[in-house]
Amino acid sequence: MRWFWYASPQTFFPLAGRLARWSAAAAVVLMLVGLYIGFFVAPTDAQQGEAYRIIFIHVPAAWMSMFIYVVMAFWAAVGLALNTRLSGMMAAALAPTGALFTFIALWTGALWGRPTWGTYWVWGDARLMSELILLFLYFGVMALRAAIDDPRRADRAAAVLAIVGVVNIPIIYYSVQWWNTLHQGASVSLTAAPKMAATMLTGMLIMALAFWMYSIAVTLMRVRCIIRERGVA
């Protein structure tokens, strides 16, 4: 791969189109498989009954909301450090999809909280608050970029905000350990055995992969629009 060749928007444009098509196809297939496992293979939970099936979208969406933010901040930092045009466009293309997954994580969390905790929402809960702040950070980054006419200056301003906001990511992730929250601890970690049935875990991981592929597809579609709109391809 000639990485620097593809760092130019003009040469990246057709590659992004091909990658977007393949990722979109993979996302559709993985979602169908994930939903099939989630609804027809995974057993009913002994404690939560069928309500737990929200896990197959809630956890992958929450992961994506944090992961997309880190990737966005990474591209923002690359753009600031190297002054490459495509980096700012990638950061701009990631923000709406990140915000969308943050909203989905909050929405599905509320609908899961009601039957399990007895409430849709708790003000002041560390996990819920830090995820809500993440949504506002995405909105802030998007609004700041939209408020500045010159796209390169807008990219730089949005980049600074995006990079500062990264401190919120470990706060979200560790909030369940650092504070007393209603939210349960991590069900999956790299260091301990998963606390759920194998089919549940499989379904969740396949849905996570599906959301990954979806995010890649829409981000590349959006970066193509941005490249065109800025008149570089």
Binding site: G49, E50, R53, A61, P115, V218, C225, E229
Partner: protein, 41 residues
């Protein structure tokens, strides 16, 4: 089938989650499709 849709009494929570999630994804894809058509022209 009715049993499946009832989700053991949790229909609103489960289908409310899945419905809104996939509606969001569909809207994003539609908006992007429209935007890419506008920028091509």
């Amino acid at each position: 089938m009715t049993d499946f849709l009832a989700m053991g009494g949790y229909a609103w929570y489960v289908w409310g989650s899945y419905g809104v999630t996939f509606a969001c994804l569909a809207i994003e894809v539609f908006l992007l499709w429209r935007r890419s058509r506008e920028t091509e022209a």
